[in-house]
């Protein structure tokens, strides 16, 4: 194998690979990328047995063949290459020579035959999707995904087909929940919802962020998802299990409703959380006539409060929240105002844009 490629092109592929390859692994080859050169160009594969990305890159191929080398080291080498082009050449015993102008590297590789095979998902019916909308859906739910590995069902986002070609995405960590419903067109032929794992979703977000307007296709086979955009394919294994009955924890309509200027509320929470008593970011909220007060109290530091004008008439309520759970939502809502629906001090708070529940977040209070 021998080919010459633009350093930037190879860098792009290796950068994507960084998020996938496993650094701490019992299988050293999973820290590698598979580089395959053929007449039509070069493909770079990164795979951790759950998520795999294969990308195609134009290159001047002198001799077809394949190698597998450390994703990290080759990325670092290519990133610092002195010339705009690099040449990769396979030597004896799976060594790989990387040259760029005057610099020269000889890197230990492994036999490409040992690289694990990606699952072929020809059967997945691919649906053309609007990358911008998919990106919005991910950004507005991903923060609520649980990182607690003992609750692996919640370690991903629930992707659920609804009536009228709509797709609902739901994420929850058991303390808060984010739900978004958008039109993604096309029929995914899903009988029920599937759970897309956190890591795969982050990679998907990264790929969409690179070029939100590119033509994208998404499809699902039995227990994996397939994503394609020009020059790139991603497969990932889905989380196997039953997502909780999330509908049951979304309150119908809160008895107390207050409309708030989104940015003021967001900034107020951030400020007051500076003095919250522990890592939980606890703040207290007092809702009274046309006023909302955020306070925090820290025995070691002091106390803080912030007052907001709010459109509200009704009984007073004192309730505690993890400010982080609220700011996560407020930073991604598009509207200038948000509606905050509340029940009593032990009932969940609900956030959404005025008159629009297609993006809704539910946050459980804290006992304070």
């Amino acid at each position: 194998m021998e080919f010459k490629i633009a350093a930037d092109e190879l860098k792009k592929a290796l950068y994507r690979a960084q998020g996938i390859v496993e650094r701490k692994t019992t299988m050293p080859i999973l820290a590698n990328v598979l580089i395959n050169a053929s007449k039509s160009g070069v493909t770079v594969t990164a795979f951790d047995l759950d998520i795999g990305i294969v990308s195609e890159h134009p290159a001047e191929v002198m001799k077809p063949g394949a190698v597998t080398v450390s994703a990290k080291y080759v990325f670092d080498i290519v990133q610092t290459a002195p010339e705009p082009f690099v040449t990769l050449k396979r030597l004896q015993n799976n060594y790989v020579e990387i040259t760029s102008g005057p610099s020269h590297f000889k890197i230990v590789g492994m036999a490409p035959e040992e690289y694990p095979k990606l699952p072929r998902e020809e059967s997945a019916p691919l649906v053309k999707v609007n990358g911008g909308v998919l990106l919005e859906m991910i950004k507005k739910t991903q923060f609520a995904i649980s990182t607690d590995e003992t609750r692996y069902i919640l370690n991903g986002v629930y992707f659920e087909p609804r009536e009228g070609g709509k797709i609902r995405m739901v994420a929850t960590d058991g303390h808060r929940l984010a739900l978004i419903e958008r039109e993604l067109d096309g029929d995914f032929k899903l009988k029920s919802g599937v759970i897309i794992p956190r890591k795969g979703l982050f990679e998907l977000k990264r790929l969409l962020d690179e070029a939100p307007d590119a033509e994208c296709h998404l499809g699902f086979a039995e227990n994996s998802a397939l994503f394609k955009k020009p020059g790139l394919t991603m497969v990932m294994r889905l989380i196997d299990g039953q997502f909780p009955e999330y509908q049951r924890v979304i309150p119908k309509e809160g008895e107390k409703q207050v409309t708030l200027p989104r940015l003021r509320f967001l900034e107020g929470l951030r400020r007051i959380a500076l003095l919250s008593a522990d890592k939980s970011n606890a703040v207290k909220i007092r809702l009274g006539d046309n006023a909302l007060r955020i306070t925090s109290h820290n025995p070691d530091l002091g106390e803080a409060r912030d007052d907001l004008e709010a459109v509200y008439r009704g009984p007073e309520l004192n309730i505690g929240f993890n400010a982080r759970y609220l700011t996560d939502v407020l930073s991604v809502v598009d509207a200038d105002e948000v509606v905050f629906e509340l029940g009593d001090e032990h009932s969940p708070g609900v956030l959404h844009a005025p008159g629009d529940r297609s993006y809704t977040a539910v946050v459980m209070p804290m006992r304070v």
Binding site: S146, T147, D148, T150, R151, T172, G174, H175, R176, L177, Q242, P244, E245, R248, V249, S280, A282, N322, H346, P348, V362, M364, P365, M366, R367
Partner: protein, 416 residues
Amino acid sequence: MPVHRAILHVDMDAFYASVEQRDDPSLRGKPVIVGGHPKRGVVTAASYEVRPFGVRSAMPMARALRLAPHAIVVPPRFAAYAEASEEVFAIFESVTPLVEPLSLDEAFLDVTESQALFGPPAEIARMIRQRIAREVHLPASAGIAAVKFVAKIASDCAKPNGQREVPAEETVSFLAPLPISRLWGVGPKAEEALRRDGLLTIGDVAARDPRRLEDRYGPSGRHLWELAHGIDDRPVVPDREAKSIGAEDTFEEDLEGEEALRPHVHAQALRVGRRLRKAGQKTRVVQLKIKYADFELVTRRKTLEQPTDDGQTIYRAALELFSRIDLGRRVRLTGVSAQDLGEQAQGQLGLFDHLPEPPRRSDRLNAALDAIAARFGLKAVTTADLAGHIRFGDEDDEARRKVGAAVFDSPTARRK
């Protein structure tokens, strides 16, 4: 309310050894040592017959046996001690709800308000000791004073099988001739420092100017002076729920490296899980304890996102804690414990708390394992890394191995 409080300190005499002598008549009147392994173990308790030879609890067994080669060594039966302790505490609690346990065999009782019912404090102490003798067949001593630490010293002076009252107005003269090491909070280091300054008895401290003591020793200087005058307003704090459940083992030989320690920690984590389930409790804080060969002790703790009673989850947390501990040294003991139990599930409420959550797979597995263990013993089913390597035995046998384990295991755990 009377001007002075009436505090009792009731302490069982050579508790474990007395239980052994009670249950085995052939041991009565003989020098008995309750203790573990003759080489590595320590003396858990020594009967009064063996004390004249210099044998004390916490002394290495090897040394004790050099001092008293004729002593009869019996292995501890913690279940029996826990049972006796339950009975003794039931007697305390029939007198006053203000019982502060210090261990299985001693407690403070605030009987200030009980006097109307049971008479003067010395009478109450006598009644308690008689009931313990009659109902539990064990000797106990009591100290009676207006403050806690004086009551404790008084019971010590009354041993064995006696009681001593120090009226409030006699406190200072009672304390004065005692060595300063009897003051609470004076350890060997502080004792040395005080001795160097010519303070040999509590009376010496009482005679000094408190301001000068404060200048010299900081706030604790003033505190010492107050104690020397019998000023100690710490209240008797009644029993709280068990704060922790744990399991620990001292190894037959010191071990080195994570590989060697892992199966032990795994077995301990599973034991903690079992005990949590038995107690119907869950924990969010897992603590790993390591004692090195040189007796240096380190602990590391991790807070879980979800409360658990699953041994495997506790084990995973303990493994993460390994990375924060120097494992390049020889280790003598490891322990795993569930901490901060019974604390109000304060803070964040859960979305799904009110939904009937489908039982986790681990819950069903644990229920099945517990049922199998109850019927066929702990060895019947275990994880592969433990099979054949780690000693099991029933919970009682397990309890015999370690004081800590037994204390946690027993229903009187909260008395620790």
